[in-house]
Amino acid sequence: MSYLVTLTINRVPRTVELDDPRVTLLDLLRERLDLPGTKKGCDRGQCGACTILLDGRRVNACLALAISHDGADILTIEGLAEGQALHPVQAAFIAHDAFQCGFCTPGQIMSAIGLIGEGQAGDDAERVREGMSGNLCRCGAYRGITEAVLEATRIMADTTQEKAA
């Protein structure tokens, strides 16, 4: 039996035929839709490397069955930059050296965008660290990550104010 799943991925509607209900969103993106930017670390919801935005909320793609999310809107690391213009969180990660090997970085960046959207951390470094605790970095770039998230929070708030003005 096969299943049809329709998803909007990085603003593009995609209909996928699944021959197996076991496919996670992570495997769908990486293995079937040629979007390998979302990383498979532990595949058990412990490391955060697979973080994507699902209907605007950060989630672990490894623990979500694609078939159960029929109709969802998905944003991955590939959908952030507009042409050569990086997303403010991407730019802040580069400015603050917020990575070393880079494997966890797509998940860190997607998680940071989710965190900033949730609006619970603000300019409090301790709340940022707590809010990012679902993303492990084995290179230990946490200091740069926290600085990058704080700067991106400020830049995105300023941009929002400019747009409102």
Binding site: Y3, D20, P21, R22, T24, D43, R44, G45, G48, T51, R57, R58, V59, N60, L63, A64, L65, I67, S68, H69, S111, G114, L115, E118, Q120, D124, E126, R127, R129, E130, G131, M132, S133, G134, N135
Partner: protein
Amino acid sequence: MNRFEYVRPRSVAEAVAAAAIPGSAYLAAGTNLLDLMKIGVARPERLIDLNHLPDLDIIEQLPDGTVRIGAQVRNADLAHDPDFRQRFPVVAEALLSGASAQLRNMATVGGNLLQRTRCAWFQDTASACNRRAPGSGCDARGGENRMHAVLGWSEHCIATHPSDFCVPLVALDAVVEIEGPAGRREIPLADFHLLPGDTPERESVLAPGDLVVALRLPAEAAGFAAHARYAKLRERTSYAFAVVSAAAALRIADGRITEARLALGGVAAKPWRARAAEAALAGATPDAAAFRRAAEAALAEARPSGDNGFKIELARRIAIRALTLAAAGTPDRLPALPASAFASSSTPRPRGLHV
């Protein structure tokens, strides 16, 4: 992961009928179930997807002040609901001390109640485990067991229930609404999970097909909002299960405790309501001596199930800490590190905390 049939019911009645067929399992977020399926601990033949059912994701206040929380409400949505966190701050604090932000965005209220133990022997299909494979034995008894139960365990199983959320819920007299093949019924959360005894494979009162549809907190539980805290000791600062935890809720009038609630997490196969401690606190002055007496009462029956005798004193201390924090008053805003035992730069701590 084994192959399974995927079923998407359109109503609760359809879901219950489908799930009553042997080999079925409900799929809520899947944050625990998919994990267990990947390691072969759970092998359902059929998944009944609850994510497209209407009306299960609503938080509503009933006319008498009871709050009713649909089973599909996500942990983060409940913790950040402005009315809910104001009336039940200890529940919000427990929720936000659990898992990660990503998992809290996915995980559901019903799934949290029904999550399985994180006992390593339960998760390893090569090990003997009476909970996973009845009659096979318990490798945890002679193995690495420092995190295991100190209350309510049996020689057949020494696993703990890992939930933070359930700890304040059981303290506040939460009620579980169940829809099943035999109709609708409700049961206090305190009676929902089962201690292992001779049948550790039976973890709750649910029968095949039974679906948790909602949780209720009575209006009077909001009367503890001014003095209610959750405290949780972990082996790292964040994103870890409790070694031990405690939810404390007090009503204080004229310098005396008029009513107390205390429950412990990480100590047993169910969230552990400490009624003897509550009785010891009623009428007492909220001070260190009273809290120490309450903690002694809460752990009076405790005994090690292995290399975990330290958890008994640790549980006493986390109970005292939660009571001390509760007596000092619920903060307007939760601390940066919810329920953390560590000092936080942005949240001053009451005096005399280090016991």
